[in-house]
């Protein structure tokens, strides 16, 4: 019986350590471009798209390239693996997830924060009268 309890405890502890390690490893840290340049890990950076600067989609590589300014006003070129995301044009802020290397932030995913349909509704309600 004791042996069984020992085995059970070992299995549970091993599972917990395994889970905790995977969690820490895959937790995508929130940071800025300055720090993103120094770490090799996948990070996420919040900021805004510099709409007035050049942005382009390279169909042959399926890469969308644009300039983004983080919350500390540092600008960086972001290369997204994929097309321009939905809602990108109207997003008030964006979050890019990826790694910084070779002079650009290579994003695998971009989340867009849109002006909520539920805020600033007073203009919407005026429109619908």
């Amino acid at each position: 019986m004791n042996l069984k309890i020992v085995i059970a405890v070992v299995v549970i502890v091993a599972a917990l350590i395994f889970g905790a390690m995977s969690f820490v490893e895959s937790n995508v840290e929130y940071t800025d471009f300055a720090r993103a340049e120094t770490v090799a890990k996948k990070v996420q950076v919040k900021g805004v798209w510099m709409k007035e600067k050049e942005a382009s989609f390279d169909a042959s590589k399926s890469q969308f390239t644009f300039i983004m300014k983080d919350d500390n006003a540092k600008e960086a070129t972001v290369v997204l693996e994929g097309a321009k995301p939905n809602n990108f044009d109207i997003a008030t802020s964006i979050v890019a997830k990826g790694r910084y290397h070779d002079g650009a932030f290579h994003a695998t995913e971009i989340l867009t924060k849109c002006p909520s349909k539920y805020n600033g509704d007073s203009t919407a309600v005026k429109k619908s009268l």
Partner: protein, 765 residues
């Protein structure tokens, strides 16, 4: 107004019903049970009536109600109008309450026949009361001017035309009724919206039954036989919630264009967690009925099914996940946040409080720990399921955890879920196969190993075939081997059982389904092929063995555009038509098209349509008073004017002088910056086709002569150049054997149905 009153009355009836049932439980007169029952029926009738009123408001476009204005519009067809009733937060609580109310009627009849009514219905009724209370807090019947008093409440003269309603006729106050609503989110304008949420909420509702039965069992001091009555409902919950989850996945895959059926998104995860717990409890319930063990485990798991539903609701509805999900979760407000939080604490405290006070009374039956017993396999399987649910729950809660530990909420990468669940998935697959070959209590090791031989050989052959056609990652190969072992073991056993008594084959069939799904997951998600292609109109492009030709687009329903692509390959030709459209609030929306080719899916997701510029663009940069050539015109930069107002925001107007036929013409190009939204307003040089627009204004504070203006100059195209064609950019994906997932789903549902029937019949004995 009527609706809100009905909801309040239903809440009161439901609350008194709980009190009456509790009074009967506390040995007051038997008539309390009868009163409680009728009060419950009254409350259930109330929610049906309130839902009817709510739907009527939407169908008849009564935009004086905030919910109707906020989620509906006059251009929606009837089916979508009805689904609008649960598109918003308030409406989805109403759908949940609606199905809870109706399920409770069946449940009370069922429990009455099994002498469980008062105990069960006081717990279940309290859950129904909570949902009705939610509807009082998040009122779907709120008036639109409660939300916008400044814009819509007027006093004095009535409008000559336009709808209005009196608010206070004595004071002359009236509210203006909007003539149009904001409309339904375009992502939800789809037939899946009609069916998927209904199934999912019936699933959520079903999860409260095992909880109620567990609590009722403890209240009644019945630690054993409650399982018999609760089992069919628990299996029903597992079936219906499982169906809802897969359906959501199919919706995401087929219409929303997520590229796959599972994205480990918080919304998906939050229904997966209670489902895993529920499936685990189905197994431990089975075990308890056979051997008497797992008494405490069953109480805990049955209660967790519902507590996890509450936790999932909290995570996805309270706004705690914030920016970290692709779903934009509306911040529901402090009331909803604290109510959901309080209700988790309340039910956990009630359930586990009861559990620990009854702890010493519960009989203890030791678990059979022989490795060659089915009971032990079930124990391991249930543990693995719970373990997966814990990992998924932790991963989904990451924003909550990191918000506390790091101060900034951040999500985990989807790879977290794959890393943690894959080993457990392999383990479960092995148990699914081996468990079917084991007998209750103790099996003969030699006999078992003999039984394992045939399925193992078949699985090895299938795995070799998979390696030949392309599987190459070691963990995936092991997963394929384990899953196909589970598949063949269950097919072999299933046939043997089927020959004897088909009613007993439910378990095997459900396991065959799960094994097929596992194989489908690997083939379609791990070994898919994806290419981004530029399809120039009329030109053939060959990739991944298919020749694609974009032939043009045509208008589809409700302002959408379908892009026709002809595909040829493997001796077949077919047409796919992905859809794109511009949604008012949401930018460009894209929807893929899928062609099912039996052994694979051809999946084409649109990216964008690039129309070649029919004009030439050039950029020029000017200092103040500098002159340059712009499309053959002499233009001089004369500085800019800056102004600020609430109406236009920051406004920069650059003055340009054009010298034409000896005369100077002044044109102004504008740049507006309203709350960070930049807008450039170009100007056309009169008498020409040349247009100018600001590219950027670069002031220089120290030396004004160095300040510059960059202009974009557009000139008409060169008439001699060949006309360029549109280019459709698409993402083409081949998803091998994805049909295994759907086939497996049907097998799983079939297996569940057979088992429900069997367990239901047993409760009558």
């Amino acid at each position: 107004m009527v609706g809100a009153v009905i909801v309040k009355l239903a809440f009161a009836a439901s609350l008194f019903s709980v009190l009456c049932y509790a009074a009967h439980y506390r040995n007051y007169a038997p008539r309390f049970q009868v009163i409680g029952r009728y009060l419950y029926f009254l409350a259930a009738a109330g929610i049906v009536g309130a839902a009817g009123v709510h739907i009527e408001h939407i169908v008849t476009h009564q935009f004086q109600y905030y919910y109707v204005w906020n989620h509906s519009s006059t251009d929606l067809p009837l089916s979508l109008l009805v689904s609008t009733s649960y598109a918003g937060q308030e409406g989805s609580f109403m759908l949940w309450a609606f199905y809870t109310g109706i399920l409770g009627i069946f449940l009370s009849r069922y429990a009455m026949k099994r002498n469980y009514e008062s105990e069960l219905m006081m717990v279940f009724g309290s859950i129904f009361s909570f949902l009705l209370l939610m509807l009082i807090v998040k009122d779907p019947f709120a008036m639109v001017w409660d939300v916008f008093p400044n814009e819509l409440i007027h006093a004095g003269a009535l409008p000559a035309n336009g709808a209005f309603l009196w608010i206070d006729q004595a004071k002359g106050l009236w509210g203006q009724v909007p003539v149009e609503g904001k409309g339904l989110n375009p992502l939800l304008q789809n037939y899946w919206m009609v069916i998927h949420p209904q199934i999912l909420f019936i699933g959520f509702t079903s999860m409260s039954v095992p909880f109620s039965y567990a609590a009722a069992g403890m209240l009644k001091r019945d630690y054993v036989s409650w399982i018999r009555a609760a089992a069919p409902w628990t299996i029903f919950g597992a079936m219906i919630l499982g169906t809802g989850i897969i359906m959501g996945g199919y919706w995401a895959y087929e219409t929303l264009g997520w590229g796959g059926f599972w994205g480990w998104d918080p919304v998906e995860n939050s229904s997966l967690v209670p489902w895993l717990v529920c499936v685990a409890s189905v197994h431990t319930m089975l075990s308890q009925r056979r051997s008497g063990a797992f008494i405490k485990t069953n109480f805990v798991l049955s209660m967790l099914c519902f507590i996890m539903v509450l936790y999932a609701t909290f995570l996805t509805r309270s706004g705690v996940l914030g920016d970290t999900s692709v779903h934009s979760f509306v911040d529901a407000g402090m009331w909803v946040y604290w109510m959901l939080f309080a209700v988790i604490v309340a039910y956990a405290a009630f359930g586990f409080g009861l559990f620990f006070t009854r702890w010493k009374e519960m009989p203890v039956v030791p678990v059979e720990h022989s490795f060659f017993s089915r009971e032990f396999a079930l124990f391991l399987g249930a543990s693995a399921l719970v373990c997966i649910s814990v990992f998924v729950a932790i991963g989904t809660s990451a924003p909550l955890i990191t918000g506390i530990t790091q101060g900034k909420p951040s999500a985990v990468d989807p790879s977290f879920y794959v890393t943690t669940t894959l080993p457990l998935g392999i383990f479960i697959a092995i148990l699914m196969g081996a468990g079917q070959l084991l007998w209750w209590k103790r099996s003969n090791a030699k006999e078992v190993l003999n039984g394992l031989l045939l399925p193992f050989v078949l699985a090895a052959l299938l795995t070799i075939a998979a390696i030949v056609i392309g599987a190459h990652h070691l963990p995936m190969i092991i997963f394929i081997l384990a899953s196909s072992f589970a598949l063949f073991a269950n097919i072999i056993i299933g046939f043997k059982i089927m020959k004897g008594n088909p009613k007993l084959a439910g378990g095997s069939l459900a396991h065959v389904g799960i094994a097929l799904m596992f194989l489908g997951f690997v083939s379609s998600a791990k070994y898919d092929e994806k290419q981004t292609l530029s399809l120039e109109e009329g030109r053939k492009v060959t990739s991944m063995g298919y020749t694609m030709t974009y032939v043009g687009y045509h208008a589809a329903e409700r302002g959408r555009f379908a892009f026709t692509v002809e595909v040829e390959g493997n001796g077949r030709s077919f047409i796919v038509e992905p859809v794109m459209f511009q949604a008012e609030d949401m930018g460009l929306m894209r929807s893929p098209d899928v062609k099912n080719l039996i052994t694979k899916d051809f999946y084409l997701a649109p990216v964008s349509l690039e129309s070649p510029e029919e004009s030439n663009e050039r950029e020029i940069t000017l200092h103040v008073n500098e002159t340059a050539d712009a499309g053959g015109e002499k233009v001089t930069y004369r500085g800019y004017e800056f102004s600020q107002s609430a109406e236009t925001g920051n406004r920069v107007a650059a003055n340009i002088d054009v010298l034409r036929d000896g005369k100077v013409i002044r044109v102004q190009v504008l740049m507006l910056n309203k709350r960070g939204q930049l807008q450039f307003i170009p100007a056309v040089i009169p008498g020409t086709a040349v247009s100018l627009a600001i590219k950027s204004v670069n002031p220089n504070k120290t030396d004004e002569s160095k300040a510059t203006l960059s202009l974009t100059v557009r000139t008409p195209p060169d008439p001699g150049a060949p006309k360029k064609r549109d280019v459709l950019i698409v993402e083409a994906t081949i998803k091998p054997f994805i049909n295994l997932v759907w086939l497996g789903t049907f097998a799983m549902i079939g297996g569940f149905l057979i088992t429900i029937f069997r367990r239901y019949q047993e409760t009558k004995k």
